[in-house]
Symmetry: C2
Subunit: 198 residues, 2 copies
């Protein structure tokens, strides 16, 4: 963990904000998994065991996907950085840069889709998860929100430079649509958990 | 990193949501450090070098503090968990539990103070940091917000059970005050970065 943070803090090209957002999302998924693990097998919650099993399966998969996307984000940065380095008068520059930008904004969009697909778990856990870990559901909600916001910024910084405005607008719209759905969903759970604790 | 996430996802008592929030904060501090490192020594930003040096120093220290607080959060959980295990009719239970709860809510309060002390760096970087990494400033803002929210929930879940309501109310008020300051400050930078990219 310290090693990742140290690398992130340096001027090394990767990891950057895109990967950081995916890691924040994986922290959220891990917390959901933890709450499900703490609920699983408890007599008090046995009526929910089937739901909890589904949560365990989905969070395990989501967590792996998000960590893989953090790595993929680092992989697409190399070609992008190289494309920026091509002299501006090189006739091949535009095409190569355009492809690198498209790849670089596809990864945060995938992160957003992953976050979108997992946010419903928050309400399952806030309803059916052990009450002893309710604060962790709120932390997961806050982390998912941050992951979605972080990924959105990484879509926009890449689409901003794209010459293919159709593709750029399509990607921006997709990001905005997910953001408009995921942020209020996360905020709702966070507020609900906060109110329940005060 | 994978190891931390795996541990977090398990039913192991630590790390939990408190430590996770501190790690999210350290990711934000690391991104601020990265932006400062990418700005430092660049001719275009030489007028800001003194500010950037201060940012580098402050983020390095904050990052270490937050990682240390993540560990400290794990350390105070042991005694708290043990205190919960004391039979309810044990006459010594209340005092031991009360002390463990006080220790367990002191750590997230320290996390909040650290986040509060570092959020002004976001506006320094959004003004004076390299524009190439502006999205990373936005991601850091979103991460600081999530760290503050996460820590607040971990204050509330511990104060809720405290018998000493004066101490509990004082801790809650401190958390709420920092939250009311840090969240809008982070939100402002996030929105500003987002608007600049669209």
């Amino acid at each position: 963990m310290d090693e990742f943070i140290k690398q992130l803090a340096s001027s090394a090209p990767v990891p950057g904000g895109g990967g950081a957002g995916a890691v924040i999302g994986s922290i959220g998924a891990a917390l959901c998994s933890m709450v499900a693990n703490l609920t699983s097998g408890k007599k008090k919650y046995e009526a929910y065991q089937a739901d909890i099993d589904v949560v365990l399966e989905r969070t395990a998969s989501s967590l792996q996907n998000l960590l893989a996307l953090a790595e993929k984000d680092a992989e697409v940065f190399g070609p992008l950085s190289k494309a920026y380095g091509i002299p501006k008068d090189d006739p091949g520059r535009d095409e190569i840069l355009e492809a690198a930008l498209a790849a670089a904004c596809a990864v945060p969009l995938e992160i957003m889709e992953e976050i979108e697909s997992i946010t419903d778990i928050l309400s399952i856990l806030s309803e059916k998860g052990t009450k002893l870990a309710v604060s962790d559901v709120g932390v997961a909600a806050s982390a998912f929100r941050s992951a979605a916001e972080s990924a959105a910024l990484n879509v926009y910084i890449n689409t901003k430079l794209m010459k293919n405005r159709d593709l750029a607008e399509k990607a921006n719209k997709k990001a905005e649509t997910i953001l408009n759905k995921a942020v209020p969903a996360c905020e709702k759970i966070y507020i609900q958990v906060k109110e329940s604790l005060k």
